[in-house]
Symmetry: C2
Subunit: 333 residues, 2 copies
DNA sequence: GTGAAAGCGCTAACAC
DNA sequence: GTGTTAGCGCTTTCAC
């Protein structure tokens, strides 16, 4: 690979002048510029970004760290982030942590993060305290449905509100036995499952309805397949239900399959609402009514916070709860 | 951030010794090692990967470049690549090109690619000739369903064979009017659509069936929504069909919705087969019969070829056509 | 407008 | 075992 030096020699100027031309800095005579550009072309010079980063201290690259790209919510988030970043001229790379604590710890080794100008970190496995230990002078914005260290910027969905909206809508449409697929009976759960279960509860309370803990179907790790099986087992076990709030669309897809395995019709026998508004959800049959987490807003807000940190602002950390909205489709009456 | 020099000063040794300790090289006395490690801990030293890359000429990182992470096929491919790479100790980052020629050209600027030890490049928009122009001394393996420059390693799916399998199965199950959703009537199309259409044709020919070009429904850019609309329009326009081979699962999902919009039952009235075996396809209702492109094999093979290039082998480029298999589920009789 | 010098943080090569 | 030297390719600073 030719270097600045090679180009400088070929065009009879100093490396500094080549650098100035290559970076489009002013104060270079037209003649010199042309000569240098010709040499660049001739030699096929390409800037070495590693050297530039080392010297300039900036890489022009932002990282988005997600558990897995095959989890559609995160795949869609990554695409939204790339779209939102395109106009800024910055470059985005996606890191996958593998959805495990160890994966997150290794993908997020300080050393690696140093290579980026800023990091959007979607936390799943790490504990609050482990996140807090992350080095403080790296521009970092957290994404994730759990409590995070106060000291760090954090963008979180309206989990409770979304679940409440979804459940209230089921109640409004006449459902009275509303299961929560992927919920928890543990009132101390502070994570995504806990918050969405809290919304489900809140909607019942607001409507003056009793909450039946038998309607709480625990979370499933292999989301679609396991959720399907759980619902099938619950119905086979005699559980009466006329509505399901699924904590994610993936769970909802499993739930829909499970209900149909039992010969139940959607929405006539059981109405279903999900959470995530995946692209595929609109094209299921019937279309899935779901909570739209406004991935576009999440990403825009996260990037705003990140830009602020990257520009060196020392302001107090912000913890933003993003608005959500219900998208009504065919799985509700 | 503390540097090697800081650690060296703090522990009273030279930077080289610190480097040796940090990199676990032999020939360091136990006492020194302990002293250095203590200083590393105390100062919170983290290696600067940018400097290491510049000096060592390797970054330990491989890039996978895909059009968009929200396209499930590519999201799943990215996750498979991360899984396959984990044992190797190398690091994977995902770049999104935005599915456009310009996006690919910019994401794939030589400069950026230089930063990686190797690149898996999933080509969509670029022309054969543009790919050929990529610098030749970068370890690079191409993925993608179109012809590629002979000089470069390339892993491609069994597109024709998969489409043939899918269509032959529909014929075997009694379908006689089999549309191809997302196909083309252009016999010169060398890309994914052309190859999969060729397989659809071949199955008809092999079975002694006539091919009716009215059954070719052209590709849809907004895959699910537009495919749904196309099928709906075709059926409304009086097209008779009892089977659909969709060129991708995303198209198949749109097709299923479109058929149902028309009051047709799947598989009783119309059987459907897709291509991609997306995770969601197994949990549609009924489950989608589809061609499994063996993403695991694709990724393993691509990494094998890449490792070979990275180890400096100068062998002839390989063009591997990966085997596919049919996964039979509920959308066929 | 252009250039010389210094150095970002690290490691390869070799001397001791 | 440990230290010294040199330099990866670039940009910052400042002199001319």
């Amino acid at each position: 690979m030719p270097t600045l030096k090679d180009v400088a020699r070929a065009s009879g100027v100093s490396v500094m002048t080549v650098s100035n031309v290559v970076n489009g800095r002013p104060r270079v005579s037209e003649a010199t510029r042309r000569r240098v550009l010709a040499a660049v072309d001739e030699l096929g010079y390409q800037v070495n970004l590693t050297a530039r980063s080392l010297r300039a201290g900036r890489s022009g690259t932002i990282a988005l760290s997600i558990p897995r790209a095959d989890h559609p919510y995160f795949g869609e988030l990554a695409a939204a982030a790339a779209d939102a970043m395109r106009p800024s001229g910055r470059h985005l790379v996606v890191e996958q942590t593998g959805a495990s604590r160890e994966g997150e710890l290794s993908a997020l080794s300080q050393a690696r993060l140093q290579m980026y100008d800023g990091v959007l970190l979607s936390v799943v496995g790490l504990q609050d305290a482990e996140v807090a230990r992350l080095q403080s002078d790296l521009p970092l914005v957290l994404l994730g449905e759990k409590p995070m260290p106060t000291r760090l910027d954090h963008v979180i969905l309206g989990n409770v509100e979304g679940a409440r909206l979804a459940t209230a809508y089921l109640i409004e449409r006449g459902a009275r036995r509303i299961a929560i697929a992927g919920g928890t009976v543990d009132p101390t759960d502070q994570g995504m499952v806990g918050m969405r279960t809290a919304g489900w509860r809140a909607a019942h309370v607001a409507a003056g309805l009793a909450v039946d803990d038998r309607l709480v179907l625990p979370p499933a790790h292999f989301e679609m397949a396991e959720s399907r099986e759980r619902v099938r087992a619950a119905v086979a076990g005699g559980l009466q239900l006329d509505g399901v709030f699924a904590v994610t669309d993936q769970v909802a897809i499993g739930v829909m399959a499970g209900l149909r395995d039992c010969g139940l019709r959607i929405p006539e026998d059981v109405q279903v609402v999900g959470f995530d508004d995946l692209a595929v959800s609109a094209h299921l049959w019937p279309g899935l009514t779901t909570v739209d987490p406004r991935k576009d807003l999440v990403v825009t807000e996260a990037l705003r916070l990140l830009e602020r940190r990257m520009s060196g602002v020392e302001a107090e950390a912000e913890h933003q709860v993003m608005p959500v909205r219900l998208k009504v489709r065919g799985t509700t009456l």
